[in-house]
């Protein structure tokens, strides 16, 4: 079996299918809702998309390595608490930022150790630590929320979530451009290079492909997994600081809504749930799509109740699409099963032969 020597357009442009879906969706909403024809609408989203994108990009690494992290909403709570309390109660400014980041790194590192060294499957390990750190944050904060009134005067606020062009002669929408979107672009571009051009990214993809192969080619699988979850912890902490500063408020469950959205963004983007294949461009567009569905539908005049339904459809549609695009043997097995079942039903019981052959063919590839 030979592959075509010239790569197709699909292979050359990363995450092309999801970009096409994004463009179509925007065009659709522009047609149905006038608000989508002004730049102000999009700028608003630049202030609260960054946390989801950062979490999604971190998860792209984690899922690309064949693992999962359920703990990050609690890291947002824990790191957010550390930041809020040090920033507000102790006026520590940048030290609050550093401690908060260190907290995220520590939680991520502990996750990594539990998974790589203790050997707990990541789903279980991060489920447990998710409860633990959410609880720890609740105990420490006593369930209080922290309002950061007057935070916008601080250099921390200005540098992380400020509006650098506000008060200039530039167009209104440029004045509203938030710092966190610029930071996010820098981080995402950097992490794209890490995933696609750096040794660590290659190791992540090989680990996702097969732990056994990775070991025999000399990858230190345990160490790379610890790095992986530590990275996720760091990104969650950055997201927590951005969220807390942007809302000028910390409350204990501010991260909870991100769990399923971030996972959905990664999978809609085209990263394989089985690991070994990951796309950061896809995740970014996945995050944008999953966020835009809500204002799009509402602005179109549909009720908010439709949002989840449509998200679910987009999600399932995307997953099925990728399965069929990337795993031809699954496609073949599916066809065979459907056709085979029909044959058995109508004529001969011997019609079961084709599905059996195809399924075997599929397994041989795995």
């Amino acid at each position: 079996m030979a592959s075509p020597s010239k790569p197709s357009l699909m292979q050359r442009v990363e995450a092309l299918p999801i970009i096409i879906v994004f463009v179509l969706l925007i065009l659709l909403f522009m047609y149905t809702a006038p608000a989508f024809r002004t730049p102000t609408m999009y700028i608003t989203y630049l202030s609260f998309l960054p946390p989801l994108i950062l979490l999604g990009v971190g998860l792209t690494f984690v899922i690309g390595a064949g693992e999962i992290d359920l703990c990050f909403p609690s890291i947002i709570a824990f790191s957010g608490f550390l930041f809020a309390v040090l920033f507000k109660e102790y006026n520590l400014g940048w030290i609050a930022v550093i401690v908060s980041l260190a907290g995220g790194i520590l939680v991520g590192f502990v996750n990594g150790v539990l998974i790589a060294k203790v050997g707990i499957p990541s789903f279980i390990a991060t489920l447990g630590t998710q409860f633990f750190w959410a609880g720890a944050a609740a105990v420490m904060s006593g369930g209080r929320s922290y309002a950061l009134r007057g935070a916008e005067e601080s250099s921390v606020w200005k540098v992380i979530v400020g509006r650098p062009f506000a008060g200039t002669d530039l167009p209104h929408w440029v004045q509203q451009l938030p710092m966190q979107s610029l930071w996010t672009i820098v981080i995402v571009v950097f992490l794209w290079f890490i995933l696609n051009r750096h040794r660590f990214g290659e190791h992540v993809l090989f680990i996702g492909d097969s732990n056994d192969v990775s070991r025999v080619v000399g990858i230190n699988v345990d160490r790379e997994k610890i790095k992986l979850f530590t990275l996720m912890g760091l990104l969650s902490a950055i997201a927590a600081i951005m969220l807390t500063l942007e809302n000028k408020n910390f409350y204990g469950n501010q991260g909870q809504g991100y769990l399923l959205l971030a996972i959905a963004a990664v999978l809609i983007g085209g990263t394989s749930i089985f690991g070994g294949r990951a796309t950061i461009v896809g995740t970014v567009f996945g995050a944008i799509i999953i966020t835009l569905i809500e204002p799009g539908l509402v602005a179109t005049g549909m009720t908010g109740s439709w949002v989840l339904t449509i998200r679910g459809l987009v999600f399932l549609g995307a997953i099925i699409f990728y399965l069929w695009m990337d795993e031809p043997q699954r496609r073949a097995a599916f066809y065979a099963r459907v056709l085979g079942a029909r044959n058995t039903g109508r004529e001969s019981p011997a019609g079961e032969t084709p599905p059996v052959q195809s399924i075997e063919g599929g397994e041989a590839h795995q």
Binding site: M1, A2, S3, P4, S5, P7, Q11, F193, R197, H198, R199, F200, E202, H203, L205, F206, D209, S210, D212, V213, S214, R215, V216, V217, G218, I219, S272, G276, R277, A364, H365, Q366
Partner: protein
């Protein structure tokens, strides 16, 4: 034959050895997987390793390649003793020992060029991969060393698009490229068709022609009989005999192994 006699028998014919094991023992819990293994592999010979499932063949090569650590014994590479506590897959690579596993050598969803260099990427000092150079080199290996010319396989092809024989060719080619002095093959022909097996056997012969050594684990006696200079028979964690293929036909060898099983 006594154990001591066997040990002397098994030293390499040329006197110099690429790898030598002395009194190596490996336990998994209470189970002794390897008991007092003594063997030496010459610098340019193909040694077949045969024996029933669970005889310890895979454990033995994992010790040599640094995947697992034995409890007792000494390992010498090029007649220099290796410190087993520091020994790892990477250390084995650095000592020019390469392994080709039945189905664990290549990552399915990754392109060939990444598979060639993973674990020892060409990077700048910040760890970023020189993709252009890796692809160029991978292309040279593919065309010149492995001989995949005009079969529609490029360095960007993913491994899942290759046939079983092509995969083994890539894995063996990769090992040869890294100037491995010792290439270890762990059942490279399992699950392959007849024509594909032929290709792999040819690759194995090339290893010897290029002046390297090879340990060849194989359950198919005809395959290993064809290429090996000598055969070591493993049984329940111990080397029980050494056979020269010219002294025994495939049929006699089969008979011998069956009798060995009946002794239990």
């Amino acid at each position: 034959m006594t154990a001591a006699a066997l040990a002397t028998d098994r030293t390499a014919p040329q006197g110099k050895s690429i790898v030598r094991l002395e009194h190596v023992q490996k336990y998994f819990g209470a189970v002794q997987a390897l008991s007092d293994i003594n063997l030496a592999i010459g610098t340019n010979e193909i040694v077949g390793l045969i024996g029933d499932n669970g005889a310890g063949k895979s454990t033995l090569i994992k010790v040599i390649t640094g995947v697992i650590r034995p409890e007792y014994g000494k390992l010498f590479i090029r007649d220099k003793q290796v410190n087993l506590t520091d020994y790892s897959v990477r250390a084995a690579h650095d000592l020019s020992i390469e392994t080709v596993y039945q189905d664990k050598s290549l990552a399915d969803k990754q392109p060939l060029w990444r598979n060639f260099f993973v674990g020892r990427q060409i990077t700048n000092r910040f760890g970023f991969i020189d993709m252009k150079r890796e692809k160029e080199l991978a292309n040279q290996i593919l065309i010149n060393e492995i001989g995949f010319r005009g079969v529609g396989i490029t360095v960007d092809s993913t491994v899942s698009n290759l046939s079983g024989g092509e995969r083994q060719g890539i894995a063996i080619g990769r090992a040869m490229h890294y100037n491995a002095d010792l290439i270890i093959l762990d059942e490279p022909t399992a699950a392959l068709g007849v024509a594909e097996v032929r290709k792999v056997i040819d690759f194995v012969k090339r290893i010897k022609e290029s002046g390297r050594a090879c340990i060849y684990i194989e359950h198919n006696l005809a395959h290993v009989h064809e290429v090996a200079d000598r055969l070591l028979v493993l049984d329940r964690g111990a080397i029980v005999s050494e056979i020269k293929p010219r002294d025994m036909s495939v049929a006699e060898l089969t008979e011998y192994l069956i009798n060995l099983q009946h002794k239990h």
